[in-house]
Amino acid sequence: MPAFLTNLGGLIDGSSLQTFALWALREIPGFPPIIQTVHLLGIAVVMGTVVMLDLRILGLAVRSQKISEMIERLLPWTWIALVTNFISGGFFLFARPNRYFNNPIFGWKLSFLIPAILLTLFFHLLSKTQQDYWELNSQRLWAARGIALLSLGLWIMVAMAGRWIAYSEYIYFPAEALLNSLSLPWTA
């Protein structure tokens, strides 16, 4: 993990943000699985919007829908889902910042997530500059297909890496994982 991220973890550790997140996760009955489900529903929206758009551009899904129409209709929901996932994920991140900012798999997740967001943003913003931007000629369409393939891979890997975060502790920090599983059963 880059030093600035581990430093960020140290900065949040002990802050009132951490106190609040820990309080919510420990004291509100059922809060951890509920907030994880909200996070999962956010991933479902990502699948139903940007991933479905990628599959459409690759010619694999919803062929009756027009690409430019899908971009306009679906991508705003991708952004809303991402914002809600930052909030739902934030509870876990802020509750135990060192668990994430020292976790190599969380580093992997970020290194898929940041390019995925930038790529989607780039794709969305360019589509606004011109009517039917990505369908105007064959070069644009091929560029869109390349972007769609990359985007599809990145979003899948974000979700994969996210699920592996909980297991990486057993790979990288077995002793701490054992201790945590005894004191914080909601981390699994």
């Binding site: 059922g30 951890p32 699985p33 509920i34 994880q36 489900t37 999962l40 529903l41 991933i43 479902a44 929206v45 990502v46 699948m47 139903g48 919007t49 991933v51 479905m52 899904a61 919803v62 062929r63 009756s64 829908q65 129409e69 209709r73 899948i156 979700a159 994969m160 996210g162 699920r163 592996w164 909980a166 297991y167 059963p185 909601w186 699994a188």
Partner: protein
């Protein structure tokens, strides 16, 4: 509910395959595929449900959306079932008595019944509302129930891991 305490569940846990999955990276691998597949089930059916509610994609007919999207829900559902069974056999005996797991199966069945009711009963009258931007109440109830039940399946599924 005698069968919940049957020794068969322990036998299943002792299958060589169960040990292979439970004791290796196969488990987190299957689990991450399960999460992606489950998100795809809900993500693809979401547009259809919101269309039934009259809230989204109103320019498309209901038949077009369900024809193009529901196969993705089914494909993802099959993948989620296979990966789910792979995880289930590693802790079969504790899963069958886990209330979250039991809720998950009940909610799955209700979601299935809701879908079956739509496809076998309501769909016959599709010509009356296929392209309608404002949908009849019956369709709104089916779409709303579907969203509610699938979210419940997700919540119960996530809760399974907090109880085992």
């Amino acid at each position: 509910m005698e069968f919940l305490h049957s020794p068969i569940w322990i036998d299943i846990e002792n299958w060589p395959l169960s040990w292979e999955i439970g004791g290796t990276s196969w488990f987190p691998f299957l689990e991450s595929i399960h999460v992606i597949a489950a998100a795809m089930v809900v993500g693809s059916i979401l547009t259809v449900d919101l269309r039934l509610l009259g809230l989204a994609a109103r320019r498309y007919s209901i038949s077009t959306l369900s024809r193009e999207l529901v196969p993705w829900s089914w494909g993802a559902f099959v993948l989620a079932t296979i990966t789910g069974l792979g995880m289930f056999i590693t802790r079969a005996a504790s899963h069958v008595v886990n209330p979250a797991f039991q809720w998950k199966l009940v909610l799955l069945m209700l979601a299935g019944l809701n879908m079956a009711y739509f496809h076998f009963r309501v769909y016959k009258h599709i010509a009356e509302w296929d392209t309608a931007r404002a949908t009849p109440t019956q369709l709104k109830v089916i779409g709303g129930l579907s969203l509610f039940l699938w979210s419940g399946v997700m919540l119960a599924g996530r809760w399974v891991g907090h109880i085992v």
